[in-house]
Amino acid sequence: PKKPRLAFVTNCVAEFWTVGSFGVEAAKAEFGVDAVVRMPANGTAEEQKRILEDLLAKGVQGIAVSPKDPENMTALLDKVAGRALLVTHDSDAPKSKRLCYVGMDNYDAGRMCGQLVKEALPDGGAVVLFVGNLDQDNARRRRQGVVDELLDRSRDPSRFDKQDAVLKAGKYEIRATFTDQFDRQKGKAAAQDALARWSDVGAMVGLFEYEPPLLLEAVKSANRLGKVKVVGFDENDATLQGIVDGHVHGTVVQNPYEYGRKSLELLASLLRETDSKKREELLPKDRFLDIPARAITKANVEAFWADLKQKTGRK
């Protein structure tokens, strides 16, 4: 019998997703499927649409996608779901006819990150946030999670504070959110400018994978290591090294490797099952396959890193 043909679609090109594609590779061998990975080079919803259309034309039977704009892509996702099995990962589109969501809740992960900031700054202080862009669903939720946690607000993933909103309550004050549109040089420049502007910054938070190392560079160049805490997201090597060295307080890691592996596993098993009743049973309840985020700090970094190296086969 032919191997099931599957596809794993990301929302941009990033190191993060390279790890995800290792999970895809693992799943290919483990579950006997054929799979392609597609990363939209400019990270736009438009590209994603073209990619999905072409995958369907190619005859792919199952697709796992991280929708760039879940709110407005419902119709498109429904169309895809009509021609192939569809699951979402990394970012959910609950209104669509997707079968299941594989991943974590970015808002909750953001709150987890906020807790790391609280740990790093127990006495409170000024915090500056950095994020690739703010019109991407997962980025907004993540940022909102951090904000809500620091301001001790109730859990409400649909809240959105504008970029220039005044965010101060209790001990913590969020001075600004800088966006760099994935330009690292710009990210570093923004971090430097923030350090120049505020002499009392207590912590800087990088919400995208490549950002914590840039923050670290900036803090180093300003000779404010230790005075300015760095908290991050994801598992960039430099971030992990920073945790080992004690320059980065901690990072929240998702598990892109499992996003890739698990979503393909699910798709493969669904495809092999022809009986729709039994198919239904294969799906997790709530249609949510939780791959929880984890907080990595000095306490657990060594073990985490070793495991990561082993999975990705990198030194």
């Binding site: 597609r38 736009t44 919803a45 073209r50 034309a57 709110e71 407005n72 892509m73 862009n133 703010l134």
Partner: protein
């Protein structure tokens, strides 16, 4: 005409190769030629072709418009806002959006034609300005119609059924209308003649009594208007516009399509059919890559490489023919 032959040949070769290699032994079908794929492809050609004409209008005057992608972004953010947030109907929303884009074009035209600023500078600033403005305007929120505007979305996603399985995408028809109108304007009317004359030699055209400034300004208006129309189609198609990236780099695709299709950057040369073919090639190549290869990582490399190879072959052939004919 000779210029169009080259691009037509390249397009045919790429399409034929793709069709041949896209044979799927399981279904016994040539995937590239499947109704579904052709519909998608033709729709994209329609969308991007409109932008190609936007670029072409300014290039024939010897200018350039780098702000096309940002004007696409303006249309992509303003149209959903008018429809959903302001709550206007489809037609007025479309009209206001297009009027706004035309005003942007007029502004470019005035700066270039009357104030004598360099088109490259004016539109580069426009590229930054309008995108930045839209980021502020949309508060970095994604703009889209949600479930609204189903009627209007027909413009971008609708199909005119030709057979049971195949329908002609509406954007392709829009492109056809734009292309025929442009062809008539360029080759059959006095304005077209004047536009081409001023594109080649603005001073001589002015001495001949051609209202060069007014025409130049009009070309910029046409450009931004078409870019805005394209932007409306794009946002109606994908139903989601993020100001920071929507339409980003499209000016380059548009210009590349036009130039590939024989619109000369020094001005005063261009064939409407060529622009369509150029846009088609720019859309077929990524389709090819996604259908045939397991990784789309090399997409950009292949697109760039094929265009460059085409340009080199074209130029070498032209030289060689010129040499042979003279003997």
């Amino acid at each position: 005409m000779k210029k169009v032959l080259g691009i037509a040949a390249l397009l045919c070769v790429v399409a034929a190769m793709t069709a041949w290699r896209s044979y799927d032994p399981v279904t016994g079908e040539y995937v590239f030629l499947s109704a579904y794929n052709l519909e998608n492809l033709l729709q994209r050609i329609g969308l991007f072709g409109v932008l190609g004409f936007a670029a072409a209008f300014v290039i024939v005057t010897g200018g350039i418009d780098l702000s096309i992608g940002s004007v696409v972004c303006v249309a992509g953010c303003v149209l959903p806002w008018l429809l959903k947030d302001v709550g206007l109907g489809g037609a007025p929303s479309l009209a206001i959006t297009l009027a706004l884009c035309a005003a942007i074009g007029l502004w470019h035209g005035v700066l270039v034609a009357w104030l004598g600023l360099q088109p490259f500078v004016v539109t580069l600033c426009g590229l930054l300005l309008y995108r930045g403005w839209m980021r502020g305007f949309s508060d970095d929120q994604t703009m889209g119609f949600g479930d609204a505007a189903e009627g209007l979305r027909w413009l971008a996603t609708g199909k005119l059924p030709l057979s049971d399985s195949f329908g002609l995408p509406v954007p392709l028809l829009a492109l056809a209308v734009v292309a025929v109108a442009t062809w008539a304007l360029w080759t059959r009317t006095v304005w077209g003649r004047h536009l081409f004359a001023l594109g080649r030699n603005e001073e001589a055209a002015r001495f001949a009594g051609v209202p060069t400034r007014r025409l130049t300004a009009l070309a910029y208006v046409a450009c931004s208007l078409l870019a805005g129309f394209g932007g409306c189609l794009f946002v109606l198609d994908v139903n989601s516009a993020q100001a920071s990236s929507f339409g980003s780099f499209y000016e380059l695709y548009a210009i590349a399509g036009a130039v590939l299709g024989g619109v000369a950057l020094r001005g005063g040369e261009g064939i409407a059919l060529g622009v369509v073919l150029g846009a088609a090639l720019m859309q077929v190549l990524p389709n090819t890559i996604r259908l045939l290869f397991d990784s789309d990582r090399l997409e950009l490399a292949v697109v760039g490489g094929v265009i460059l190879a085409g340009a080199i072959v074209d130029q070498s052939l032209a030289r060689w023919l010129g040499r042979v004919r003279r003997r």
